[in-house]
């Protein structure tokens, strides 16, 4: 099963405990999480279902390439970290 972990900074706004899901791509894994939490979806993806500009996703230590379709493949034992990109002020 794939482990999905969200930045703790999200806890200021809503609950987002780590999840264990299945899927062959980042999109499939996240959709599995969002299936039970549509509000969380809006914090990670924009209204065109792309990764938000100032978010970044790591899969097994590497940032994903496809920020639009989230098609990067994952393995059954992958770890997905959904983090904030370095920006702000």
């Amino acid at each position: 099963m794939v482990r999905v972990v969200f930045t703790p900074n999200l806890e200021r706004h809503l609950s987002c405990p780590e999840a264990t899901v299945s899927g062959d791509s980042v999109r499939e894994a996240l959709d599995a999480v969002f299936e039970t939490d549509q509000q969380l979806r809006g914090y990670i993806l924009d209204d065109q279902s792309r990764l938000r500009q100032h978010m970044v996703i790591f899969v097994d230590g590497k940032t994903i390439v496809d920020r639009v379709h989230l098609s990067d493949s994952i393995s059954p034992n992958s770890e997905i970290y959904v983090m904030q990109a370095l920006s702000g002020g």
Partner: protein, 371 residues
């Protein structure tokens, strides 16, 4: 006189309350968050706050108990595949995907539309809700206007709807203004729209386009509550007024010390009285000679006064954004807040001002809670 004001800032939402001892800052909600718009709906007392999280996007919250408890509601969503026009500043000539980057205008519908809200966004979408923000519908008749392809951003990268004026006696009539896309009016509750910016002039474009109504950069549009055919517009290169329901506009050249600014407020009972916050135009955007002033006309723009009593007259570099000047329902009490975190109130129509704070975050919006 109103006794409650909301202050939307770069670092949260503040509430200002008036008691027998005067005005004082009270609640501070959404600590550290960018609050782009606030509205207290006078019809049912619900307060709405639009947030713009740097990382997590645009959100809308509402409270039914004056901010003690907030709940997140829905935000406008563009249809899948929606795009904004390529615009004059596109680097590749291709349309950009439309994605919500800011809630820039939020207004209640008329008294006969108790759950109606209107919302203007960047990039240039007009949405409405008929369930107090639980869901939103894109006004497709507006989105589908072919003229929208020619709108472009002013201070923002993309065009945005910043002003929505619901006719006080006929809620089917709504006027909307866009930076940069002129003034548009519907008289059938959004079924059809007409561009109503004839006479507004842009001196910063080629001369043959100066009067093109569809590209005008109106910074802020307000409608007289007592004489709804009167609108005032603070435009990028001056002040304009209409007295015939936006069919024709006249340029007002008497506002001192400058016609440039972002904000305008109109007296609730006297349509010829309006207030402005003048500044040096274009790239500079600071008060003239470091003196922060409010301009007022009481005769429809034939003459204007420069109001300074209580306002800083040296080393002042405050800019007041388009939503950061408001007047209450008596026309006597005004509030304004600046990019420098200064907040001032007048209780005599602008003749004199008191400083409420000099240390707030940059202020985006100030609004009286009106009854």
């Amino acid at each position: 006189m109103s006794s409650q004001i909301h202050i939307a800032t770069r670092k949260g939402l503040f509430q200002l309350d008036r008691s027998s001892s005067g005005w004082s800052l009270g609640r501070h909600d959404f600590h550290g968050e960018h609050v782009s718009m606030v509205l207290k709906d006078h019809r049912d007392g619900t307060t709405y706050a639009a947030l713009n999280h740097g990382h997590f996007g645009v959100k809308l919250h509402r409270s039914n108990d004056d901010g003690k408890n907030w709940e997140e509601c829905a935000v406008p969503v563009y249809p899948e595949g929606a795009t904004i026009g390529a615009g004059p500043f596109s680097t590749d000539g291709k349309p950009k995907p439309a994605s919500l980057s800011e809630i820039w205008a939020l207004e209640p519908g008329g008294p006969d539309q108790p759950n109606r809200l209107w919302c203007g966004t960047i990039p240039g979408g007009l949405f409405r809700s008929d369930d107090c923000g639980s869901s939103w519908q894109l006004v497709e008749s507006f989105w589908d206007l072919p003229e929208r392809q020619h709108w472009f951003g002013g201070g923002k990268d993309d065009p945005g709807i910043h002003s929505i004026c619901v006719h006080p006696e006929n809620s089917q009539q709504v006027a909307v203004s866009i930076s940069c896309g002129g003034v548009w009016v519907t008289k059938d509750d959004g079924a059809s729209w007409t561009c109503k910016a004839d006479g507004i002039r842009a001196e910063y474009v080629p001369p043959d386009q100066a009067y093109d109504p569809n590209i005008q950069d109106v910074h802020c549009l307000v409608q007289s509550p007592s004489h709804p055919d009167f609108y005032w517009a603070q435009h990028h290169n001056g002040v304009f007024r209409t007295t015939d329901g936006a069919n024709s506009w006249q340029e007002i050249t008497t506002i001192q010390p400058s016609g440039f600014g972002f904000a305008v407020a109109v007296h609730p009972k006297q349509p010829d009285t309006a207030w402005f916050v003048p500044a040096i135009k274009d790239e500079c955007r600071i008060p003239i000679d470091g003196k922060f002033v409010i301009a007022r006309t009481t005769d429809g723009g034939l003459t204007s006064e420069v109001l300074t009593n209580g306002l800083p007259q040296e080393y002042a570099y405050d800019i007041v954004y388009r939503h950061a000047l408001d007047v209450d329902q008596t026309g006597e009490c005004l509030v304004t807040g600046s990019t420098t975190g200064n907040l001032w109130i007048s209780e005599d129509g602008g003749d004199s001002w008191q400083t409420i704070s000099t240390t707030l975050p940059p202020i985006y919006c100030v609004r009286f809670a009106k009854s």
